[in-house]
């Protein structure tokens, strides 16, 4: 049980009330009493929010100055659209990482869900009605999450290993089921899920991403699932001793991540109208990077959903802006890598400060 190995200092974290969307943190399971330091903590966590947003805006303004045509509204629209798949995957992954776990299967699992969406909805395949196809796709995602959760919570496999195995299994199945051919989904209603525009200038994919972010933020800070995720991540043993069925909630966390994964798959496949079964490998690392940039601790116990949204946007803004600047690609990799390092370092500093209080 890897999750029993938690850093000791996390147990000293004093629980406090959190606003929706602000950084969520939990010390002892189920207790949400206010404390003398609650206010200062709230101020600090708000400041961290401001910091992440400020970083995004600073990067955006920087590119406005240096990259020709970056100010065109199309660029903003595209950054929102292009961030949506990784972003939605990252929302689910935030819950997993909040428990101190990790999900390496999120990239290829997304591809498997997308392939299944293609099988359910593709004109050359089952050609099911859209609602049914969507429902079945979400079930596939939930099922992948269920297997992950079972392997981790019941069989006691380390999350890293369990999801690494699932990453390979999902990739293999996606290639087998699709016969390594790309699958076309032509249904215009389905395509509109990503490419349509209910609002001006904003693709539906981006709108759905933002709505799902709000849902995830409420789930994390206001529901038992979210609170228990953080409690497990802070101290799994203490959570178990306080009478919470840790195994059940862990499984539910992975199922939740699986459902978000399937929703990401829908946005992905609807965006292109094609599913590429060889794609998806490497997405999991982008997802983890987005979550970490957003300020969620890989040690578990602390998560920030809005930060994840900003992390996904920041990654895509960097990719787009650096390309438009004309910076050589080799250097783009270096720059984005350095940003991730800074984010992780900032997280470490915050954590050691929190431990010192």
């Amino acid at each position: 049980m890897s999750n029993t190995l938690k850093p000791d200092h996390d147990t000293s974290v004093v629980p406090h009330d959190v606003e929706m969307g602000s950084e969520a943190q939990e010390g002892r399971a189920g207790s949400v009493a206010s404390s003398p330091s609650g206010l200062s903590r709230f101020v600090r966590s708000s400041l961290q929010q401001v910091f992440v947003f400020a970083a995004l805006i600073a990067v955006y303004v920087f590119f406005l100055v240096v990259a020709p045509n970056f100010g065109s509204p199309n660029v903003l629209t595209d950054i929102l659209l292009q961030s949506s798949t990784i972003g939605v995957l990252a929302l689910g992954a935030t819950f997993v990482i909040a428990t101190g776990g990790i999900d390496l299967s999120v990239g290829t699992g997304m591809t498997l869900c997308a392939v299944m969406a293609g099988i359910f909805l593709g004109a050359d395949y089952m050609n099911l009605p859209m609602g049914l196809g969507l429902l079945l796709t979400l079930l596939v995602g939930a099922f992948i999450g269920l297997i992950n959760g079972f392997n981790i919570a019941i069989l006691g496999l380390p999350p890293f290993i369990a999801t690494l195995a699932m990453m390979m299994i999902a990739r293999g199945l996606a290639l087998i089921i699709s016969k390594a051919q790309s699958i076309k989904i032509a249904n215009p209603d389905y395509i509109a899920l990503s490419n349509g525009r209910i609002l001006p200038f904003v693709s539906n994919a981006a709108l759905i991403f933002v709505l799902l972010t709000i849902v995830a933020a409420v789930m994390l800070s206001k529901t038992i699932l979210g609170r228990y995720s953080l409690a497990i991540g802070s101290n799994e043993e203490a959570t178990r001793l306080s009478g919470i069925n840790v195994k059940f909630w862990l499984i539910l966390v992975y199922v939740t991540a699986g459902i978000f994964m399937a929703m990401g798959a829908v946005l992905y496949s609807a965006r292109f109208g094609f599913v590429q079964p060889a794609e998806g490998l490497g997405f999991e690392l982008q997802v983890i990077a987005a979550v970490v940039i957003g300020g969620t601790s890989l040690a578990g116990g602390r998560a920030n959903i809005i930060g994840t949204l900003v992390g996904a946007l920041l990654m895509n803004t960097l990719n787009t802006g650096l390309q438009m600047m004309g910076l050589a690609q080799q250097w783009q990799l270096v720059v984005v890598g350095v940003v991730v390092l800074i984010a992780v370092f900032a997280d470490n500093v915050r954590r050691s400060r929190a431990a010192a209080v």
Partner: protein, 357 residues
């Protein structure tokens, strides 16, 4: 466990590009990247016998003068990669043309050939930066069509290169005439074996355009021009190990074999290995380059090989793009050329720039 998590955090860097190293999927390698989707097979196999230098053999070379630019306009090339030597050579050629005709050239490509989404994001960003024209080597031509429509709507001319795009939007396609290249290989094989004897074929696959054309082009030329050379039925092997076994089996079954032809890097290196292991002396003709093949040709174990011309491909793509900007007519296909190389000419600058290790 904490260490492990830190390791994961750092490995998130990999998300940002190094994933190329970890892929091994049943897709084509950059050197034979003409995707099976290229429905149009416009090769009219211009007989290379007529043309003294195969570099000049074309299915259509753009007519008319290229007008020099004023240095403010940009030609944007979105390729299939940027790390592989082949694409670096394409980039060199593109920049040569840019310098010659006074246009800025931007060149980008995804981390590996499975990253369809990344490539489309790059294409979209290229569009947003409002270049004068775009060159595009599609990884998945079906998935690209919405973006191609947008490029067309923006009135930006688009030129396909390396492999065709399944769409009538690109004004022309700059690619290797694989059938003519294979005929050139056959011509050299016939010369080397003295126009008689039995010759075996190791073809890298039987489904992709390149696999079919590089095999058939060889067979057809032999049938028409060297009736005394007996060409065995082609054997298919896309990996070095498999190609080695195939070649050895062929040599054992046909003791009178005098020559063997491999249609890509892996097939040629495998055939080389098979010949070495069989202990016989055979004339070996290959395709593309790669360190093992260059060493074998340098030492004379392999007689020679056909190389594509990535430098010329880049050059012709930019040239065609500039002509499109000026509103000139372009042929449907522009041959980027190929060349025979052996021990005697592999150090020539024109040849050497196209070879990679």
């Amino acid at each position: 466990m904490r260490l492990l998590r830190s390791a994961i955090a750092v490995s998130s860097l990999l998300a940002l590009g190094l994933t190329a190293c970890s892929t091994s999927t049943p897709t084509t390698t950059p050197m034979d990247s003409a995707s099976p989707m290229d429905s149009a097979s416009p090769m009219d196999s211009a007989s290379p016998m007529d043309s003294a230098s195969p570099m000049e053999s074309t299915s259509g070379e753009p007519m008319g003068e290229v007008t020099k630019g004023d240095g403010t306009k940009t030609i944007y090339l979105v390729s299939k990669g940027f790390q592989h030597r082949f694409w670096q050579a394409v980039k060199e050629g593109a920049q040569q043309a840019g310098t010659e005709f006074n246009y800025k050239v931007e060149f980008v490509g995804p981390d590996n050939e499975q990253q369809v989404t990344q490539q489309l994001d790059m294409l979209k960003t290229a569009l947003n930066s409002k270049p004068a024209a775009i060159g595009f080597a599609a990884l998945d031509s079906g998935a690209a069509s919405p973006v191609l429509d947008q490029i067309k709507a923006a009135n930006i001319p688009i030129i396909a290169f390396d492999s065709g795009v399944d769409s009538d939007i690109p004004l022309t396609t700059v690619q290797t005439d694989n059938r003519a290249a294979a005929a050139e290989a056959a011509k050299h094989m016939a010369e080397l074996v003295g126009d008689k004897g039995t010759v075996g074929l190791v073809c890298h696959d039987q489904t992709s355009q390149t696999g079919i054309q590089r095999c058939e082009g060889f067979q057809e030329w032999m049938k028409e021009n060297a009736p005394d050379v007996k060409v065995l039925d082609p054997q298919y092997a896309g990996e070095v190990g498999l190609a080695a076994n195939t070649a050895k089996a062929m040599i054992q079954a046909n003791p009178d074999m005098v020559g063997i032809y491999g249609t890509n890097e892996a097939a040629a290196i495998g055939a080389l290995q098979g010949v070495t292991e069989s202990g016989k002396k055979l004339t070996l003709v290959g395709f593309d380059s790669g360190k093992a093949q260059l060493d074998a040709i340098g030492s004379g174990v392999e007689a020679g090989a056909i190389t594509q011309s990535p430098v010329k491909m880049g050059y012709e793509t930019v040239k065609a793009a500039i002509m499109a900007v000026d509103g000139q007519e372009l042929p449907k296909i522009i041959d980027s050329g190929f060349a025979w190389y052996d021990k005697t000419n592999m150090e020539d600058p024109d040849i050497k720039s196209n070879l990679y290790e």
